[in-house]
């Protein structure tokens, strides 16, 4: 893992005009214990996130893609310390998140917010929209109720909702509108970082674009930094500056969005890309598709060697015994695969 760390550090040092690092994650692990029997004996662990390192630059968007169960959401939650990390460090704007006490954590909370996946579950059904959006203001600022109402109306306008609807309840809104309410809540305290945990996965396709565009506008307007978790490669390409591809709790490939989409190095990235349909029937009919066999292995007993070796169409013997080391093949483009030739 040392090698991995130095590589990432070098990467940060090499690039000349690299923007400031806002979040720096090193060797992050999150294992959920598996217990059995009446005595809750620990019999194993689900390695949801198993040694992940990446940086998020201020003002940029890091896309995190991978299929279900690859640990994307766990990374997001661990980053905000909604889950305690098992190992590793998360440095947010120079301070180590893992070492913060409950009180210290509460002070950092306003600077990092989250937008959730399920617009139906992420808003308290018994609170009005104004109290939902106003909650962070109540918790962290001492505002009069008039100031708060003004701020709530401003925020509602900012996310494209009618400020007159402030006294309605969440169920009176559609999915897209609720997601906007969730976004308004997330930006109410002017955070630096927003973790977007599949914010568009539960929305209609027609609404997805609206919400993503709104998020981009807000990013420009407020200088936000996003960690954008999704399984939608097309959407990631649209919104992200850099993309990390995850598989079974590890990052397989991390690169700038253009270099990842134009020149995917990892077999898994290529497979993911070929699974996305192309909006041209002629191309779609003839293009070569890589179809992966089988299912993603259980994170409680990941395969030895490369975790992708059980499904990789190009796997060789070495892949099944030796864990591939993280390597940077070109500036800003890292991959964990034995088969990618070094430059």
């Amino acid at each position: 893992m040392d090698a991995e760390m130095t590589v990432v550090q070098e990467q940060a040092a090499e690039a000349p005009e690299m923007p400031e690092v806002l979040v720096s994650v090193r060797d992050l692990k999150k294992h959920f214990p598996v217990t059995k029997g009446a005595l809750r004996r620990k019999v194993g662990a689900v390695r949801a996130v198993d040694g992940v390192s990446f940086d998020i630059m201020r003002g940029q968007t890091l896309g995190l893609v991978g299929e279900s169960g690859s640990g994307k959401s766990t990374i997001g939650r661990t980053l905000l310390r909604l889950e305690e990390p098992t190992e590793g460090t998360v440095v947010f704007d120079g301070g180590d998140m893992a070492e913060l006490s409950a009180r210290g954590l509460r002070k950092v909370r306003p600077r990092m917010q989250m937008v959730f996946q399920d617009p139906h579950a992420c808003l308290n059904p018994r609170m009005t929209v104004s109290s939902i959006i106003g909650e962070p203001l109540v918790e962290h600022l001492s505002m009069t109720s008039r100031e708060r109402n003004e701020r709530v109306e401003e925020l509602l306008g900012l996310v494209g909702l009618n400020p007159e609807h402030a006294n309605r309840y969440p169920h009176e809104f559609s999915g897209g509108q609720r997601q906007r309410i969730g976004i308004a809540r997330a930006i109410s305290l002017n955070p630096d970082l927003i973790v977007c945990d599949e914010p568009i996965a539960a929305l209609d396709v027609s609404i997805q674009a609206q919400v993503v565009n709104l998020m981009e506008e807000l990013q420009d307007l407020l200088g936000l930094t996003y960690l954008f978790i999704s399984h939608d490669l097309g959407m990631i390409r649209h919104i992200a500056d850099r993309v990390a591809v995850m598989y079974l709790g590890r990052i397989m490939e991390l690169a700038d969005v253009d270099s990842l989409y134009d020149n995917p190095l990892h077999p898994y990235t290529r497979a993911l890309q070929s699974s996305a349909p192309v909006p041209d029937p002629a191309v779609e009919a003839t293009r070569e598709k890589i179809v992966l066999e089988g299912d993603i292995p259980s994170p409680s007993s990941p395969p030895p060697g490369c975790v992708f070796s059980t499904r990789c169409p190009e796997a060789v013997d070495r892949c099944r015994s030796e864990v591939p080391v993280w390597r940077e093949v070109s500036p800003g483009h890292g991959v964990a695969c034995h088969l990618v030739p070094a430059i």
Partner: protein, 314 residues
Amino acid sequence: MTEPKVHASREVVAATASGAGPKHRSLRGDVWRQFRRHKGALVGLCAFMFVTVASFVGPYLMPYDAVEIDIKMRNLSPTWSHPLGTDNLGRDMVARSMVGGRISLLVAITAMALSVFLGTTIGVLAGFFKRLDGVLMRLTDLFLALPVLPLLLVIIMLFRDSLRATFGPEQGIFMLIVFIIGITSWMQTARVVRGEVLTIKQQEFVAAAHSIGTRRRNVIFRHILPNCLSPVMVAAALGMAVAIITESALSFLGLGFPSDFPTWGRLLYDGKDFINLTPMRVVGPGVLISLTVISVNFIGDGLRDALDPKLRSR
């Protein structure tokens, strides 16, 4: 694709409806509007109000006293002057039922409040704080395993006299009965509430509250508690019924209120020996108990619906 349409039309309707009105609707107004729509709850509320007013105001309007003995008039069948007849000592049953209602209702409401408070507190603590879960749930099991009647006997034997000496015979026994009913009936509520809290705790809006940095106290009071209101409402309605019936059983065992101090349960048990002679002696208090329990259940039902914003908008 039909869902957005429906929403849109509803919104248009809502917009036109609220366009003229004031911008801020009050929560209390909303709740009352929805409550009125529940017919059963409205009828229940009327019945409950009627019973309550009759119990607390009625005795002042009656020409008879509840404890006045008139041996010549004993065991009368219902007549216009004695609609529920008289008992074996010639006391008017309507007057006795009214006075009895005071104690029964007071005991029921206070005992229910105590039981729901205990049950909800323990349920929320056990559900929210994983560390307390084991201890509190084993405590709940322990209370469930206690045989209630022997426990009551022991408690009453131990504390009755000292409480009577301190607070007077009526208040002393009132506090004792409320306390006993309260601490022997909170366990079901605690279990149901714990289960509900465990579910709600996993929902995303609670994670959202944590990520905002909401204090744990506020997470509980703002997010968890309001969302487990429906089982609490049901528990409260059932708890009142249980309290009335337990109080009756206690009075029957001679452990409740003194016999010259009527409660519905007491009247029922005193009257049961005369059921062939003067059946109205039993029917009257029995119907009152049932009426109260049913109306409270309906009120609870209506209140639960009215407090749920999802049902409110329909």
